[in-house]
Amino acid sequence: MRKLRAIFIALLLALALAPAATADSITGRGAPPESAGASLPFANGFMMRLAAAQKHLNDTISAEFRSVRDGGSRLAILAILGLSFLYGALHAVGPGHGKAVVASYFVANRARWTAGIVMGSMISLIQGVSAIAMVGLLAILLQWRQFEVLNRTASVEFVSYALIALLGAVMLFRALTGRGHHHDHEHHHHADHVPLPSGERSGEGAGASHETHHAAASHPGPHPGGERGKARPPRLDLKLVIAAGLTPCASAIIILLFALANDALGVGIAAVAVLSLGMALTVSTIGVASVLGRHTLLRVLDAVGVKSHRFEQSLAAVGAFCIVAVSSLLMLGAWYRI
């Protein structure tokens, strides 16, 4: 019951604080959202400086693309790549880019800190591939107009967020009902398994039982082994990673279109690859912070004598709920823009 109450309160909080997510290019925007008004302390001045830095990088990258077009110096290409990394890292600090999914996932699930890096990087890199694929298909093969390509990201976002919401809903259902796991709180079925690096596709061998499958990442249920237990951390949820990676970043699309307009598509693709690496740095940092945050929270609870395994179940539900809430909002935001 307490669990349900926590979820209910989290739901209210989310509804109270959640903004409508509609923003697009000058063309093809949806209606403006109603203004809510939660205030973040970091926002003051910080957003301005962050934006100013990105503007500066954007200006310099543009100029270097022109010099690649006009003469093609290697130095210009190197400059584009270096600056794109910075641009990606800074750009991903702003809301979006799968950070919500990554953070929620690692609140819900026990994992190693390396899993935070793997998941953050995979999402960012797949997002880069998605941008390249979209521009390749729509702008180059189908010869769509540039804004048509850019605005099409909304459709891809919609699909991506819908899939994430669906996966989150499954996680939430399992967390709430405790369905889909067969171990109880006294038995450590996995204790004899050798801990494997997270993200590795393990379990295909002899140990690939039904049970292993359920211990896999899409299953956020309580893990009685505790944070320090010997139980193997869940595998990364590849479905979730791919769903979150589908959404291309508008900036990656814009850079590719600019490269295309300057007859430097190859440099553009390389720039987007490096941009994605920069984003991976930022998103991974969020992932690692979430893993460590959860770990610390449970340790503190243990230290003060709270039974942390009961809390883990709540975390699984809260994390899953956040995934559903955030992705549903983003899905609505994308819907307005389609």
């Binding site: 307490r2 926590a6 309160i9 989290a10 909080l13 989310a14 604080l17 959640a18 903004p19 409508a20 997510a21 509609t22 923003a23 290019s25 000058i26 063309t27 093809g28 403006p32 959202p33 203004s35 008004g37 939660a38 205030s39 973040l40 926002a43 003051n44 301005m48 934006a51 100013a52 990105q54 503007k55 954007n58 200006d59 543009s62 022109r66 702003g94 809301p95 979006g96 950070k99 953070a103 609140v107 107009r145 540039q146 804004f147 814009i254 279109l257 600019f258 307009a261 300057n262 945050g293 609870l301 709540s314 975390l315 809260v318 956040c322 809430a325 955030v326 909002l329 983003l330 935001g333």
Partner: protein
């Protein structure tokens, strides 16, 4: 349990959705247009970043990178300007502390120079009285941060028919509310003119 709720709240907050980080960068400048001692309108100029400028010129003009013809300007206005009316053309303006709702702007113009697209348009101010002391604060601002608006470094403000009015303008820090990340500090152009009666 309370910690859990706080953690959940913090998480939801930190993970605020929206594509709210700038993808478009616009430098803007304003010209205060007086008539008979009263402020009639403000001419707003937007200069886009090179990447977005390139997209605009490729999609909406007949000679990418070249000078714009009248048909190009009309295409830009219809295709890539008019719908910003939904956002009050991103103009935030107050006269003597009272917000003015910008519903319609006039005299749209566009040019493409030095790899950049520039839009300009006139924002009517309405019935500003000619006498007394007045204060205007104006900024271009997208509270969703899809567009990053910044005052241009040089000549961010100009005047027409302002002789003898004692107009004085300076950029000023101001706090604005946004739906996504709450209050943010930004810069507005603050002007005063006229004599206290």
């Amino acid at each position: 349990m309370r910690t859990g709720i706080a953690a959940a709240a913090a998480l939801v907050l930190s993970a605020m959705p929206a594509a709210a980080h700038p993808h478009v960068f616009i430098d803007y400048a304003v010209v205060l247009q007086f008539d008979g001692g009263a402020l009639k309108s403000v001419r707003m100029t937007w200069t886009f970043d090179e990447m977005y400028s390139s997209m605009l010129s490729q999609d909406y003009t007949s000679h990418p990178r070249g000078p714009l013809g009248a048909a190009d300007v009309t295409r830009l206005q219809k295709g890539a300007f008019e719908d910003t009316a939904d956002y009050h053309y991103f103009v935030d303006v107050t006269l003597n502390g009272k917000p003015i709702e910008v519903k319609k702007v006039t005299d749209f113009a566009a040019k493409f120079e030095h790899h950049r697209m520039t839009y300009s348009f006139t924002v009517p101010i309405g019935e500003a009285p000619a006498s007394g002391k007045h204060a205007l604060e104006i900024a271009a601002f997208d509270n969703e941060f899809y567009i990053d608006f910044e005052l241009v470094d040089k000549d961010a403000v100009g005047f027409e028919n302002a002789e003898g009015l004692g107009v004085s303008c300076a950029p000023k820090k101001a706090r604005k509310n946004t739906p996504v990340i709450g209050a943010v500090d930004t810069v507005v152009m603050a002007c005063t003119w006229g004599e206290a009666s």
